[in-house]
Homo-oligomer: 226 residues x 2
């Protein structure tokens, strides 16, 4: 599914260079549940943005379902981002002028649902993350953890086959965090592929496989035993 070889990303800052990704190789198959861990600044979000087709590398290759992503048309990339991949951003990226409900409805617009069905699916998704009573709050009218949960509900609303979650529980108490992990496990059991970045050991061990990144390189790639 996700076939990445020798991926590199370097930022030029004045006279110096920051090697965000320094030759990453990783292969992830359908239906896997993979966690990505590593120190702050090690390259996790940068890698995730590559996988999610939101950014492109300076070197190396990325084949998604066998097709070279760098050869894809803009239309094909847009389709992938709206239909194949659900992205839970580390910084949430909610639209500030829209309510929680409107934010969660956004990806459903591409699914060609009726307005009525879109609304009921979005409500259902928000209820699953415990925000059934916050539908009409805008992001500034929500707590940090509630904003994070809107971001989660939005990524899951269209039930995309690939879910990319960048630190989905960072702002949540352990009970709310556990409810989110239960949701992801449930989706994995139904066949979704889940790749999640986390700083939380408990969360990392819910996955079946742990990939460790340090200074833009993969240092470990292990199966999780419970």
């Amino acid at each position: 599914l996700v076939d990445i070889k020798n991926l590199k990303k370097t930022y030029k800052m004045g006279e110096t260079y920051v090697k965000a990704l320094d030759g990453v190789d990783v292969l992830i198959n359908e239906h896997e549940f993979v966690s990505i861990i590593g120190p702050s600044g090690s390259g996790k979000s940068t890698l995730m943005n590559m996988i999610g087709c939101l950014d492109s590398p300076d070197e190396g290759s990325y084949h998604l379902e066998g097709i070279d992503v760098s050869e894809m048309s803009d239309g094909k990339l847009a389709m992938i981002r709206s239909k194949k991949i659900g992205f839970i951003f580390q910084g949430f990226n909610l639209l500030p002028k829209m309510t929680a409900l409107e934010n969660v409805e956004m990806p459903l617009i591409y699914q060609h649902y009726s307005h009525k069905k879109r609304k009921s699916r979005a409500i259902e998704s928000l209820e699953k993350v415990g925000l059934g009573d916050r539908l009409h709050h805008k992001p500034a009218e929500l707590s940090g953890g509630q904003q994070q949960r809107v971001a989660i509900a939005r990524a899951l609303a269209a039930n995309p086959p690939i879910i990319l979650a960048d630190e989905p529980t960072g702002n949540l108490d352990s009970k709310s965090g556990q409810e989110i992990m239960d949701l992801l496990v449930e989706l994995h059991n139904k066949g979704n592929t889940i790749i999640l970045i986390t700083h939380d050991d408990y969360v990392a061990n819910v996955a079946r496989r742990k990939v460790c990144i340090m200074d833009g390189k993969i240092t470990e790639d292990v199966e999780v035993f419970r």
Copy 2:
């Protein structure tokens, strides 16, 4: 130091009311190290904003160092916010057009340091959170955890007597999180008062006292034994 009685904050949302704070009483003395814990949406950040003089309640009273905050002049409030209190925000609140260094220098401007001293203090603060090599990156050129650390460095740079930290380790791996907690413990030993909101049990137990909030009310207020 912080004397809060029957604090209430209610948001009107169309026909319904959200009781963010529903009668909170809490007394915090100088040099204490208090952690505030509770579920997502329970009122922690709202309470912190009251303590930090960034928001005012609908009912109840808040005396800071014996003075009723609701009676304070704008000038007095501004002085408190810039000199007495260092605030680490849950959402960081960094200025996007400024570099890490410039963001951390901001509170030092009120200290009337020379330009040279301000810069060296800001650099020192960023080095303490491990960002000595990221001084000239803007927020969008930093990882999530690096942005969080800039927010921490900014709050600590002027060595304010009261430090309010809203989930300071949410985006950090355990090693970076531990370094931040070591910093806070060091400041507490030097005499600072620290109030910190956290979802992390380990972090909560570094404090000397734990206050638990649920549905806008305090449900527990206990000493931490190790």
